[in-house]
């Protein structure tokens, strides 16, 4: 028998036993539904994780620390000896550890490494306040602007190289500082105030005047610098950006100058916890890895976006595997349904099988008739399950996004190739489930079968 004829007969048989076919396919669709949603959710989670990373980290840069173990989990169970030249980091959950800081010599060394395009210290400077004439004072944080991605602007423009004493203002400060609109803020002047370290003599005076209590409120010793607004950033539309939309951006030299003012006279002066190392042609991950190895060989700790991505992907893959087990169990359970259905089908058609064999149908073709029938049940189960999952996911996406507060992000991302692969896998499993009933049909003795009334 030609394959086409067998296929047509299988389809006809399924149509004859419509209800049985639909129910068996529905049983298979339950597992498919779960697996399709699991795949969609992990696609979405992976994409969401990657979006967060690429929105917040320069993909061509490495984050470098003096301490090799900076990026590792704090595994030190032994007391660490105090070193006065190190900074102390206190973690939120209580433990504290000392971390070596990068100084200017380290930065120079990093700059000299092959493949390094630029090195800039990572500075996030807590300002005393930002204000302008006639406005209140507001707390703010300033960072150097890094143009690795194009931000959404409400007004103004960001030149390739930001002139000194220019500032990029987030949307949230426009009204706070009394501007009528984002456009009205452009070219206006704002003032940033930076705390200065109290000099030793000033502290001595204070101590003499107020006793120990005086130190808790050091003198208002700050410097104001004037900045011109060149652009206004749109508020991030979702939580995709880790920043709360309150960071001010200035040029690289400005942030260093401000930081110098703030730290002069302290042990933090010209020392940095981490630095960004821009890699030449860093979009090529091979270059990124080469420089990363180079830096690690020089005795520093270095971490790239790739590492972070890998970490996130790994976590998601493990979770996906765990959740998939439920779907897989449902599929396996439904396979017994397929076996049962196929046995019934063979029993019901004993006479027909006998006739076909008497008329000269090959054993192999008889087996194929039932295997294709099972395959079609698997196919229908896969199609029904994945369509239901797609419809349910498409309906649920806005609600999930709302519940999780992730803006317009679709957490359930359906991938046609994955769904196709899933359906093919189901077809193969169904054929395997149909193997024994098909073999029973193929081995049926036509003489015995035709005796059946």
């Amino acid at each position: 028998m030609r394959l086409f004829d067998i296929l047509r007969r299988s389809l006809r048989n399924l149509r004859t036993a419509q209800m049985r076919t639909i129910l068996t396919a529905l049983a298979m669709s339950v597992g498919t539904f779960a697996l399709t949603l699991t795949l969609a959710a992990s696609n979405g989670a992976r994409q969401y994780g990657n979006t967060i990373i690429t929105n917040n980290f320069d993909p061509t840069a490495l984050i470098v620390s003096k301490d090799k173990n900076f990026f590792k989990q704090n595994t030190a169970n032994q007391p660490q000896e105090y070193n006065p030249s190190f900074g102390t980091v206190t973690s939120a959950i209580g433990g504290s550890r000392q971390i070596q800081m990068l100084d200017d010599n380290d930065l120079a060394r990093l700059r000299d490494l092959p493949g390094v395009k630029s090195v800039r210290p990572a500075i996030s400077l807590g300002l005393r306040y930002i204000t302008r004439d006639g406005a209140r004072k507001y707390v703010a944080t300033a960072q150097a602007y890094n143009a690795y991605r194009t931000p959404d602007l409400l007004a103004g423009a960001i030149p390739a190289s930001i002139p000194t004493h220019s500032i990029i203002l987030p949307e949230a400060y426009v009204h706070a500082l009394g501007f009528t609109s984002a456009g009205a803020a452009i070219n206006q002047t704002v003032r940033l105030a930076v705390n200065k370290q109290a000099s030793a003599s000033a502290l001595t005076q204070l101590l003499a005047k107020n006793g120990a209590n005086g130190l808790s409120s050091p003198p208002a010793n700050s410097v104001e610098e004037r900045f011109k607004v060149i652009a206004v950033l749109k508020k991030p539309s979702s939580l995709l950006v880790a920043s709360n939309g309150l960071t001010l951006y200035v040029s690289e030299p400005d942030i260093i100058a401000l930081n110098d003012i703030a730290t002069k006279g302290s042990s933090d002066y010209h020392t940095y916890l981490t630095a960004y190392v821009e890699v030449a042609n860093g979009t090529n991950s091979a270059n990124l890895t080469t420089v990363q190895n180079e830096i690690q060989k020089a005795g520093y700790g270095a971490e790239s976006v790739l590492n972070a991505e890998q970490a996130i992907t790994q976590v998601i893959t493990v979770l996906q595997g765990i959740v998939s087990i439920f779907g897989a169990v449902a599929v396996i359970a439904s396979l017994f349904g397929v076996i049962n259905t196929m046995y019934i089908s063979v029993l019901q058609r004993t006479r027909e099988i006998g006739l076909m064999k008497a008329l000269g149908m090959h054993k192999k073709d008889v087996a194929r008739l039932f295997e294709i029938e099972a395959a079609l049940i698997g196919f229908f189960g896969g199609i029904i399950g994945s369509i239901l999952a797609f419809v349910a996911g498409t309906i649920a996406n806005p609600f999930i996004a709302k519940a999780l507060g992730i803006g317009n992000t679709k957490l359930l991302q359906f991938n046609a190739a994955q769904i196709l692969g899933l359906i093919i896998a189901l077809i193969i499993l169904a054929i395997l489930a149909g193997f024994l009933p098909a073999r029973k049909a193929a081995k049926l003795d036509p003489i015995v079968a035709l005796r059946t009334e």
Partner: protein, 232 residues
């Protein structure tokens, strides 16, 4: 030409062994009609199964047009059966859920008949049994006689050289049965097919060119009817 030489068939072994056929020999010339007569349990069905290659004899040979069918591998016997022979059964064995067209199509599909000729062959076969107007009717809706006519259409669609009919009138009233028998003899005449008829109807058997009477697994009488027409 169908030749059976010294065929015996034994079921089971040792004490429980049952000899269904014992040293049976005869021959049927191509284009003849033959009847196998005997009471139930005489070995009629066993002989039919052996002649059609559905079963293997314990000893002896069956040659069809010079080919010893039991020297062939199972697959080749299947193909041989699909090309050269056909069956009509007492209980019709038509698929009630399928249309007449689909029922008659089955042997063509099994024999891998060319797609372009199938429709024409099915129409011809249904016309020959006077069921042309029922081509798209579900077989389940037909009467008993119509079902057996449908079975004959299915049996002749492939233009087989040999047509085996196993008590084809057993489930029909005598008037309808006569029509069916007439149809089988017509097929023998118009298509030149050898018809082998299993029956216990002596009168019917008498109308056949060759009569093989079985009793307890042995041939009692085997008559070549002298007045048989010369056929090819």
């Amino acid at each position: 030409m169908i030749t059976a030489q010294h065929i015996s068939k034994t079921y089971g072994k040792g004490d429980t062994a049952f000899q269904a056929l014992h040293d049976v020999s005869f021959s049927i010339t191509s284009g003849q009609t033959a009847s196998i007569i005997g009471k139930s349990g005489s070995g009629k069905s066993t002989l039919l199964h052996l002649l059609s290659g559905l079963d293997r004899p314990t000893s002896g040979t069956i040659t069809i047009d010079g080919t010893n069918i039991f020297t062939m591998p199972a697959k080749d016997i299947d193909d041989f059966r699909a090309r050269t022979m056909s069956f009509v059964f007492q209980s019709f064995f038509v698929e009630a859920s399928q249309t007449c067209y689909q029922n008659v199509m089955l042997p063509l599909e099994i024999a891998r008949a060319p797609l372009t000729q199938r429709k024409k062959l099915v129409r011809e076969a249904l016309s020959a049994v006077d069921l042309a107007d029922k081509i798209n009717e579900q077989a389940g809706n037909l009467s008993g006689g119509q079902k057996q006519r449908l079975a004959i259409a299915r049996a002749i669609v492939n233009k087989p050289k040999i047509l085996f009919a196993d008590e084809p009138t057993g489930n029909l009233d005598s008037a309808t049965g006569d029509l069916i028998i007439q149809l089988l003899f017509d097929m023998n005449r118009t298509m030149g097919s050898t018809v082998v008829l299993v029956t216990h109807d002596q009168e019917l058997a008498g109308r056949c060119d060759v009569q093989i009477t079985l009793k307890d697994g042995s041939i009692q009488t085997s008559n070549q009817v002298k007045h048989s027409k010369v056929k090819q």
